[in-house]
């Protein structure tokens, strides 16, 4: 049985998230390598072909970690909570002139800003941010003399063919 606080810690546990993504990507690469081995390639050739078809493993892993981490419900909740605390602090600060009340406002503002920074810094990885959004489409049309014939003969694009398949 999973306790609620285990979910809470999991939300922050970047290492566990990375391990899960590692496992998922490794499964893909090993399945590709196994498929290549059935085509009479040596293990080294099969692995190299798998890596070539897969792309930059580390970059993909970083993208997945960032996307997943940013969208975890607990992280989103904390971001909203910290902003709410800061705004409450501002409200208290401007609506009261009493020393001890304004101090509470100051504390709330401080906690809000520091908490928001902490949530931001925990997920800050320059390498991952640099590669967050693909600048070009990951899809490529294969430009072959043969492919032009195939297009004409079938009168549909590959994407249309996939969509129309039942």
């Amino acid at each position: 049985m999973t306790l609620p606080n285990q979910h809470l810690f999991r939300a922050f546990d970047r290492k566990q998230l990375e391990n899960e993504i590692d496992e998922e990507l490794r499964f893909h690469l090993e399945s590709l390598t196994a498929a290549n081995l059935q085509q009479d390639l040596t293990f080294a050739e099969a692995k190299a072909a798998a890596l070539k078809r897969f792309g930059n493993v580390e970059q993909i892993k970083n993208q997945c970690v960032e996307i997943s981490r940013r969208n975890r419900p607990m992280i989103r909740f904390l971001k909203v909570l910290m902003i709410a605390l800061f705004l409450c602090g501002v409200l208290i600060r401007v609506s009261s002139t009493e020393m001890h009340v304004t101090r509470i406002g100051d504390i709330l503002m401080f906690v809000g800003v520091m908490g928001r920074l902490l949530v931001h810094v925990r997920g800050w990885r320059p390498a991952a941010n640099a590669t967050d959004a693909p600048t070009v489409s990951p899809l490529m049309l294969i430009d072959r003399t043969q492919s032009a014939d195939t297009y004409d003969r079938r009168s549909v694009t590959p994407v249309e063919r996939l969509i129309s398949e039942k």
Partner: protein, 110 residues
């Protein structure tokens, strides 16, 4: 044989994944294999690029994932379409058809 990189419409990869998952739940490798088979090597997809797309789609609620056991008895993460994903697939499919019809019409008249 020459290969050239051609940028396709934004969201095309998501559409291919949604359509592939509309048949059954699959792991990432299965999705990649299915797409490769369907497009007959006319469209090349770096397998790894599927994963950021899958994670983005999961964050948007179009798909959900669950760890299970693969056909070769290994732990694997399986993805399946949600109700929101089916709606998205319908919307994206009709949008694709509309755009491709429009482009075909322009190409015929130009």
């Amino acid at each position: 044989m020459t290969n050239s990189r051609t940028d396709l419409m934004q969201g095309t990869l998501e559409l291919l994944i949604l359509k592939t998952l509309s048949r059954t739940a699959m792991h990432g490798y299965g999705i990649a294999q299915q797409i490769h088979q369907s497009v007959d090597d006319l469209l090349r997809i770096e397998d790894g690029s599927l994963y950021p797309a899958l994670y983005r789609m999961e964050a948007r609620g179009w798909i959900k994932s669950e760890w299970g056991v693969s056909e070769n008895n290994r732990r694997a993460k399986f993805y399946q379409l949600t109700r929101a994903g089916r709606k998205q697939l319908d919307a994206e499919s009709s949008n694709w058809e509309r755009v491709s019809k429009a482009i075909a019409r322009v190409l015929q008249t130009a």
